[in-house]
Symmetry: C2
Subunit: 599 residues, 2 copies
C-alpha cells in the first residue's frame, strides 16, 4: 500500500514553464516524471508504476505472438552500423561515444544490425526459422528539437522486435503476427489508433505501416478516404493523369512580366496582358520551381530544383521522406550565389535538368554544372505552363511538358490537400494529425545481405534471410495515454495502466475516521486492490481531493463526515459521479467495481 | 512453457576463446549471454530469465526496507558532476558524450548527484525525511581492462539506493536498514559473502562497508582476524608502534656499499662488513624508498616517494586507495631523469620531504623541487634504519627516524601479510580473495553540501541533509552465482534464480514418449512449475542430457525407456542423484520437490 505521508511525491499547482502539451504538464505536475536534461526524464515512483503496467501489456502480447525476449546493450560498436551504412546516414541524429582506446561507439537508436548479427552468430539452418525476438529497452536519439515531454525525447523506452524468415511468405506471416499483436496491445492500453501506410525512410525495406494515435498535437499528418485508404502524408502518392496530345498546342512564347514576384501577381498580369480565350489563368496554370539545398549524411551539400503546380506549396515533410537520408532545406542566398544560372523569381526549366546538361552526362552529376530537376507527378507530357524564362522580368507561356522541357524524374513534393483523390480511387482524402506509437516494417533482405546472415535451405543451399522490424514507443504510448485522458482537474488514467486503482482519502481530524480508513485500506489490499491511502494528518480535504484528482486514479474513496452515518463515498474520476456506500461492505463493493472495470 | 525446439538458444561445446573464468565460459556456452563488445554483453532469453529473478529479489527486499523505486536516465548532463568535482575526478573512467549542440554529457557510473538534486527539487522540510529511494538501472564505466565476462564489464546493471536524513543518528538507522536488506538479499540469492570495512575512495564520506563474495578469482583481497575484524586490504590500518627513545642510539654513519642493487645483497654486505653485535641485520632493518608517479584527474603528473620497511613490498592496490583520485604507477626512467637528486638504488630521506625543502615552503608544492615523502606507519620516531645515502654505492646506517629524518606524513603503502596483527587487537590476520557484490557508504553531507540540499528543521532553520549511498552489482551477482554453482558438466543454478525449475527431456523416437512428455509438461505448468521441455524430435538423448546439464536447471525429468514400465526418472542436478517415479503422479511429486526446494 502506498501512503501519501511517505510517498516520494510533490504535486505542483503550477504548470512547468517549458511544458507545451497536456501530458507533459500533468505528468510533471502530478509527480510522475521530472526533467533531467532536454528530452531526458527521471521517473518518480508513480511514473514507474504506470510504465511497468504498460510494459507488462506489451510483454504479454509479444510473448503471446511467439516473440522471445532478449536484451541488447545500448552502447554498441560502430562496425555493424558501418556495414549497413547507417553509421553515416544517421548524421547528427545519434549520440556517438569514443572509448578510452579510441574505439567508436554509438548509443543505439534502433538495433537491426545487432539482432541480425546475433541470429547469424547462433543460427545456420532453415529449421531454426521462423524466429521473432524482441526487447524492451532504452534508446537514444540526439533530436534537434526534443519537445512535448515524453513525446519526443532523447532517451526513451522502446519495444523493438525483429523477425527472421526464409521466405517472403514467411515474412508476411511474421509481419501479420506482429501487426495483430500491436492491435491487441493498443486495444488493451485503451489507446486510440489508426493504421496507415508509411514510408520506410532510413530503415530501408518495402512494406511499412504506422500506428498513429490521432491527436491535434501530433507531428505526423495522415490521410483517410471514405473507401478505406489511409496513409501517412509522407507516403501518399499522387494519381498520375494521362498524357495530353500536344499536336495542336500553341507554341511557347516568352513575355515581359515586370513586377511579378509572386504567383498571384503573375496570374493577375497574365490575365490582364495575355488573357486566354476559354478561361482565365489561375495559379494551377503556373509551374513553380523550388530550389532546395540537400545535405548528404557525409555533410556534402548540393542543389536540387523541384517543379510543382503553382497553386500548391512544397511540403517539407514529404520532401524529407522522399529524399532521405539527405537533409533538406530551402536554398540560401549563398547557394544562389554559387548558381548564377538560377534567376531568382524567374527560374524555368531551361536552366535545369537533362536539357541543361551536355549529352552523355548522367543525372545528379553536378560536376557538369547542370542542376538536377524533379517534377510533381501531375506535370505529365502535354500539360502547358506559365513558368520562368530564366531572365529577370520574363516568363514563358504555353511551355509544354515533354515537348519543351523534360526533367530527371518525378518526386512527391507538393502538399496533400483535403479533397485530393486517394491514389487507389477510393474517394477524396481527409487530413488529420497523429503521433506515431508503432511502426512495422518488412525490411526484406537489406540488413541480412549487408551483414551476411544466411542459412542453409532444405536443399542445402545458402539463402539470405528476410527480416521484419517492429517498434512501439513505450514511454511515448504512456505520454499519449496521459494526453488523451485528462480534464481540467488532472489525469484520468484508464484502470489498466493507472499507478493504483483506488485513492483512499481520510478527511478531517477525527481519529475514528483515520482508523476506519486504515482498516478499509487493509481490507482493499487483502481483496487484491491497489491502494494509495492519503493518511496525511494535517492536510486539508481540499488539498487531498486536488491531489487525488491530479494524480488521476480511476476511483477515489472518501472516508469522512459520512462515517458517523456508516457511509463512505466512492467517486469515479472519469465521470465525476459519486455514490455513498455502507462502510461495512465498502471494501467488497469497491473491489467488485475494480474487477468489473478491469474486465 | 519453453520448448527447446523453438527456444532462441545455441549451446556450445567449446569454451569461448576470451573466457578466463568459469562463469563467463559457462554463461556463454549455455546460451545465457553473448559478447557484443569488450565488457558489453547481450542477454539471451535464458539469461534474461535469471536476471529477472535476481532483480525481483533485490526489488522485494528494497521495498521491504522502505525503499521507493525510481528510475534515472543513464545519459546525464555534466553540470551536477562538475559541482561535486567528479566530472574531473573520474578521468578516463567514464564515457563522455557531446550532443549536437556541444553540450557535455556522461553515461553515469553512479547517480549520487542527480538523486541529491531530485530530492532538493521535491523536498524542503524535515517532515519529508527520512527517505530512501532506489533504482535498478544500467550503468557505464569505461574500464581500462574489462574482464571475466560480467564480473567487470563496461555496461552493467546495478541497484543503487540513496538515503536522506536530517541527523547523523537517522543516517545510522537508514544505513543499518540497507545493510540488513543486503544481508537478506544475498542470503536469498544463495550467494556467500563477507562484510568487510572498506575505504570510501572517490565516493567520499565516512563509514563504508563492502559485501565481498569469497572466490579465488576475486580482484579484491580482504583480511579477517579470529576476533572478528574484517576489512578490505585497502582499508587495513597498520597498528602504530610506540616511539622509541633515541637518547642512547648510535650516530648515523655512511658506508660504502658497492654492488648492493637489492635489499638481499645490501643485508648480506651489512652483515659481512658491518655486523651488529646483538643480532644480524635483516631486510626489516632497511628502509626502502619507492618512487611513484601520480597522475591527477586533470592529467598533471607529479612524483611522490614512499618509505617502507625493506622486508615488505609496496601494494599498488592499497596505494591507489590511499591516493585516490590520483592514478599511481612506478616512476619511469623519464621521471628519474627529471629528478637527478634521486640516485637510483641509493635513495635516502636526505633528498626528500620537508628537510629537503626550504623553510616556509608547504608540502606538496613541487615548485621548490623538493619531493614529497610519506612513511609507512611502522617507521615511528626512534626506529633505526639502513637506507640510501643519496650517493652511488653508499648507504647510511643507524639513520634514526625523528632524529635524522622526518617526512610529510604517513601512508598505508606496504603489503598486508597473513599473520599481521589486526588493528583492533583481535589477533593475527588471514588473507583471502573476493569479488565486491555490494558496497554501502555513509556519504554524510558531502554531496548535499556541494549541491545545496537543505531542509528546514523543527526550529525553522536550514540544515544540510546527510546521505548514504548503497550499491549492489546485479549482473555481477548473477555472474558470481554462476561462478559458485557449476561442475565439469555445466551450471547448477540455485532454484530461486534458475531460468526454469524443471528441464523435461523426452528421449528416443517413440511417439508415446513424446505424448507422455507433452502431457507431463502441461501438468507441471498447471501445477505452477516452470518447465523447459526438450521436444526436439531428432536429437539424441546424449545431446539432450548434455544440454540439460550445461544449462543447469535444478531438476531434470526424463521420459524415455522407463515409460513402458510406467516410470519416469527425476535427476537432481546439484547432487547428480536420480530416482524413478511412477509417471501417473510424477507431476505432483515433482511440483512438491520444487516447492520444498524453494522453501
Amino acid at each position: 500500500m502506498l501512503r501519501m505521508s511517505t510517498l516520494f511525491l510533490r504535486t505542483l499547482r503550477e504548470d512547468p514553464a517549458d511544458a507545451e502539451v497536456a501530458s507533459h504538464r500533468l505528468l510533471v505536475r502530478a509527480g510522475y516524471i521530472r526533467r533531467a536534461a532536454p528530452g531526458i526524464y527521471s521517473w518518480l515512483p508513480l511514473g514507474l508504476k504506470v510504465l511497468a503496467k504498460v510494459e507488462a501489456i506489451v510483454r504479454e502480447e509479444m510473448d503471446r505472438a511467439g516473440g522471445q525476449e532478449v536484451h541488447f546493450p545500448a552502447l554498441l560498436p560502430k562496425e555493424p552500423y558501418e556495414a549497413t551504412g547507417r553509421w553515416t546516414e544517421y548524421g547528427p541524429g545519434i549520440f556517438r561515444v569514443v572509448d578510452r582506446k579510441g574505439g567508436d561507439y554509438l548509443l543505439a537508436p534502433t538495433h537491426e544490425e545487432v539482432f541480425t548479427l546475433l541470429v547469424k552468430d547462433l543460427y545456420s539452418s532453415y529449421k531454426d526459422l521462423p524466429l521473432t525476438i524482441y526487447q524492451i529497452q532504452t534508446k537514444y536519439r540526439d533530436e534537434a528539437r526534443p519537445r512535448a515531454g515524453l513525446l519526443r525525447g532523447r532517451e526513451f523506452i522502446m519495444k523493438d522486435s525483429y523477425s527472421f524468415d526464409l521466405t517472403d511468405e514467411g515474412l508476411d506471416e511474421s509481419y501479420q503476427a506482429q501487426r495483430d499483436a500491436y492491435v491487441r496491445i493498443f486495444d488493451r492500453l485503451g489507446l486510440e489508433y489508426v493504421i496507415v501506410t508509411a514510408t520506410s525512410g532510413a530503415m530501408g525495406g518495402s512494406k511499412s505501416e504506422e500506428f498513429l494515435s490521432p491527436t491535434e498535437i501530433g507531428e505526423d499528418t495522415y490521410v483517410r478516404s471514405p473507401g478505406g485508404y489511409s496513409a501517412n502524408v509522407e507516403a501518399v502518392t499522387t494519381p498520375v493523369p494521362a498524357p495530353i496530345d500536344w499536336t495542336d498546342a500553341p507554341a511557347a512564347h516568352v513575355e515581359d512580366t515586370p513586377d511579378t514576384p509572386t504567383i498571384a501577381t503573375l496570374v493577375d498580369l497574365a490575365n490582364a496582358s495575355h488573357p486566354r480565350p476559354d478561361s482565365p489563368w489561375t495559379a494551377a496554370d503556373t509551374l513553380k520551381n523550388v530550389v532546395l539545398a540537400l545535405t548528404a549524411p557525409s555533410g556534402e551539400r548540393s542543389i536540387l530544383v523541384v517543379g510543382i503546380p503553382g497553386d500548391r506549396d512544397a511540403d517539407m515533410t514529404r520532401l524529407e521522406a522522399a529524399l532521405a537520408p539527405h537533409g533538406v532545406e530551402a536554398a540560401t542566398d549563398e547557394d544562389f550565389a554559387r548558381h548564377p544560372e538560377l534567376v531568382k523569381g524567374y527560374i524555368g526549366p531551361g536552366a535545369l535538368g537533362p536539357q541543361a546538361r551536355p549529352a552523355g552526362v548522367a543525372r545528379g552529376d553536378e560536376a557538369d554544372g547542370a542542376i538536377p530537376y524533379l517534377l510533381d507527378p501531375r506535370i505529365v507530357p502535354g500539360t502547358r505552363w506559365i513558368t520562368g524564362a530564366d531572365a529577370p522580368g520574363r516568363h514563358v507561356f504555353e511551355l509544354t511538358a515533354g515537348r519543351d522541357f523534360i526533367a530527371d524524374g518525378t518526386i512527391e513534393a507538393a502538399e496533400v490537400r483535403a479533397g485530393d483523390p486517394a491514389p487507389d480511387g477510393s474517394g477524396p482524402l481527409e487530413l488529420a494529425r497523429g503521433v506515431e506509437i508503432g511502426h512495422i516494417f518488412q525490411l526484406g533482405r537489406k540488413y541480412a545481405a549487408a551483414l551476411d546472415l544466411r542459412v542453409l535451405d532444405e536443399n542445402g543451399k545458402q539463402q539470405v534471410v528476410t527480416m521484419g522490424s517492429y517498434g512501439i514507443g513505450v514511454t511515448r504510448s504512456l505520454a499519449l495515454l496521459a494526453e488523451n485522458n485528462n480534464d481540467e482537474l488532472g489525469l484520468r488514467w484508464p484502470i489498466q495502466v493507472a499507478p493504483y486503482q483506488v485513492h483512499l482519502v481520510a478527511t478531517g481530524k477525527d481519529q475514528a475516521v483515520f482508523d476506519a480508513a486504515e482498516a478499509l485500506a487493509g481490507d482493499l489490499e487483502a481483496a487484491g486492490v491497489e491502494v494509495c491511502y492519503d493518511d496525511r494528518p494535517k492536510v486539508s480535504p481540499g488539498v487531498k481531493f486536488k491531489d487525488a484528482e491530479l494524480i488521476g486514479a480511476p476511483f477515489i474513496l472518501v472516508v469522512g463526515r459520512g462515517l458517523v452515518d456508516g457511509t463512505v463515498e466512492l467517486k469515479t474520476r472519469a465521470t465525476g459521479g459519486s455514490e455513498a456506500l455502507p462502510v461495512d461492505d465498502a471494501a467488497a463493493t469497491v473491489a467488485r467495481a475494480v474487477r468489473e472495470a478491469l474486465a
